[in-house]
């Protein structure tokens, strides 16, 4: 009973259209949105305390997520750099590409299973899921706006006041409700129905290559990419550079021992979320594994797991690399990627 089964249960009540007394057309939300901890997951960190998940709140969050009018030049929405088909990362973009053709500093991360994360961004600088969007909204190279401008825009733009009233009981929009609505949408994104999950739940089995890849993965990768989230949520240096341009975690802690360390990313949906690393330098999984095979640099803060027996990196044969990649592809969750409740339309 500790872990409730299944993740987002959609109780379809199709056909039972929402009674809508408002004059404007609001797309009826016909499925009940629920957040449930998957049976093979630990307890969530974000528990919707003070921000109860509702259909109206979720639908409002989704509308805000996909509304490009929130950016300075009305060209960039959250969804512009967080695309569902890429696991809500930004396909083919090494770093974020924001307003005024400005390029950001780091690769846009995937968005799912955020409710299990304590800290956010590659350096862990954001410490509560609810405040994460402020960064993208205000960053001059992302959406380039500010909270006051957006709150004023929303207060003056139908149907937002009535949508906020439906979601939070008040038509007066402030930054708190804006952020809570966005969080209802992003925190409800749960990806836990990949082939890997089905194997863990004994609903199916790996093929031989995937199985061999899984064994190799547990032996060589799981130290940092720990199941079931496929990240231990720590900050490490994985030897990308001898001297890193980006100071990473040190930007937040000020500690020299954190220089060039970055948050271990999840590997779920990794097949779809290229390019890889904090600066998006690798565009294929083959290149990533080749980095661990022969490319690891002796950075002063290199993680000990990457310099075992005075040898840098993780030696991998071509066959082993192929087997690991086969396993990594079992982390693709097509149901999540194609789930309409998270889609723009």
């Amino acid at each position: 009973m500790r872990h409730l089964k299944i993740y987002l249960i959609l109780i379809a009540s199709m056909g039972m259209l929402y009674a809508c007394s408002k004059t404007e057309i609001v797309k009826p939300q016909t499925e009940e949105i629920r957040f449930v901890v998957p049976s093979n997951f630990p307890d969530a960190v974000y528990k919707f305390d003070g921000n109860i998940l509702t259909n109206n709140g979720f639908a409002l969050g989704k509308k805000l997520f996909y509304d490009a009018r929130l950016s300075a030049d009305k060209s960039i929405s959250c969804g512009s750099c967080h695309q569902q088909f890429a696991g809500f990362a930004n396909l083919d973009h090494k770093v974020s590409h924001g307003v005024n053709n400005c390029l950001g500093k780091r690769n846009a991360p995937v968005l799912f299973n955020l409710a299990w994360q304590r800290e956010f961004f590659w350096d862990g600088g954001a410490k509560n899921l609810e405040i994460v969007p402020i960064n993208a909204i205000t960053d001059i190279c992302e959406m380039g706006s500010d909270l006051n401008t957006i709150v004023t825009f929303l207060n003056n733009t139908a149907p937002y006041p009535s949508l906020f009233k439906d979601a939070f009981g008040s038509a007066t929009i402030n930054s708190q409700n804006l952020l809570k609505a966005l969080t209802q949408f992003t925190a409800a994104m749960v990806s836990a129905n990949s082939k890997y999950d089905k194997v863990m739940r004994k609903e199916t089995v790996f093929n031989p290559e995937e199985q061999q890849g899984y064994q190799l993965f547990k032996d060589k990768c799981a130290n940092c990419h720990t199941e079931p989230l496929f990240t231990n949520l720590n900050y490490i240096n994985n030897g990308l550079d001898l001297n890193s341009v980006d100071e990473g975690r040190k930007t937040i802690t000020g500690l020299v021992s954190d220089k060039a360390k970055f948050r271990v990313p999840t590997l779920r949906n990794i097949e779809l979320s290229s390019p890889y690393m904090h600066d998006g330098r690798f565009n294929t999984l083959e290149k990533v594994l080749e980095h661990y095979n022969v490319g690891v640099q002796a950075n002063e803060n290199l993680d000990v797991s990457l310099s075992k027996d005075s040898q840098l990196g993780i030696p991998l044969s071509n066959i082993q690399k192929q087997q690991i990649i086969s396993f990594l592809k079992t982390l693709t969750d097509d149901e999540f990627i194609k789930n309409k409740i998270f889609s723009e339309n």
Binding site: G125, I131, L147, N174, S175, Q176
Partner: protein
């Protein structure tokens, strides 16, 4: 006028008569009252005027101020009998550019005589880590860091000819909750012995504080703008916080 004066006098007499009817002069603790916290911004004794006024630090360096904002939170009052009342949800933000922000009414305080006040300069750790806040803690108020999330406790901006920064700017954004760079500081002050803060249902006393923006740059460590003109958290912010902990606020008087 006469009628008003008479009615005030009558009211006063009745009040005295009424209170004297009670057991000795104990205050009805079920009563709730309001008081005002008033902050008067100064720079080393001179009134703080934004933008056009020049001030001098202890190194003889001239400076002016364009922004001066600070949080006071978790206000606690200690009664003359030693009991403490923590004012719930007491988060207030003072902004030199908004005179109305310098006078804050605090409501629903249990009646009684209070001899001491204490508060956090800044925002407690819990709220730094909490989700989206509103009111004085609304991140839209420009006192919230998004890249390394948490509140700016004290924000001082200005210029000095001695500053080595671009545009000769001074940027002192003090905040941070993680040791060794934790800048949360608490301040406390006794009120005058003969004149405690008297909270009553029918009164609205004022507690007056002088706030010295110049205290950021002196005290524990004298700051030269040639050496330090920019901090946004970290070790240099700790130097500033250790300076202002004893000099930013000074209890002035109470109007009961």
């Amino acid at each position: 006028m006469n009628t008003k004066n008479i009615s005030i006098a009558l009211f006063a007499i009745l009040t005295i008569a009424f209170t004297s009817c009670k057991k000795d002069e104990t205050v009805n603790t079920a009563e709730k009252g309001t008081f005002a916290l008033e902050f008067e911004n100064q720079v080393n004794g001179a009134p703080l005027v934004l933008n056009n006024q020049n001030y001098t630090n202890l190194n003889g360096e001239s400076f002016n101020i364009s922004t001066f904002k600070y949080y006071v939170s978790n206000i606690k009052l200690t009664k003359t009998d030693g009991s403490i009342y923590a004012i719930p949800e007491s988060y207030i933000l003072m902004d030199a550019a908004k005179p109305s922000s310098l006078l804050n009414n605090l409501k629903d305080i249990p009646a009684g005589d209070y001899a001491k006040i204490s508060f956090t300069i800044g925002v407690d750790k819990e709220r730094n880590l909490a989700g989206a806040q509103t009111g004085a803690l609304d991140p839209a108020l420009g006192m919230f860091w998004t890249w390394n999330s948490g509140y700016i406790f004290v924000k001082f901006e200005g210029t000095s000819p001695q500053s080595t920064a671009t545009d000769k700017s001074l940027t002192f954004h003090i905040g941070g909750i993680v040791d060794p760079n934790n800048t949360i500081r608490t301040f406390s002050s006794d009120f005058s012995t003969g004149n405690p803060l008297r909270i009553r249902a029918d009164k609205n006393p004022q507690v007056h504080f002088v706030v010295n923006a110049g205290s950021l740059f002196k005290g524990k460590q004298k700051i030269s703008f040639a050496n330090l003109n920019f901090t946004m958290g970290g070790a240099n912010s700790v130097i500033v916080a250790d300076n202002y902990v004893n000099g930013l606020f000074e209890f002035e008087h109470i109007h009961n």
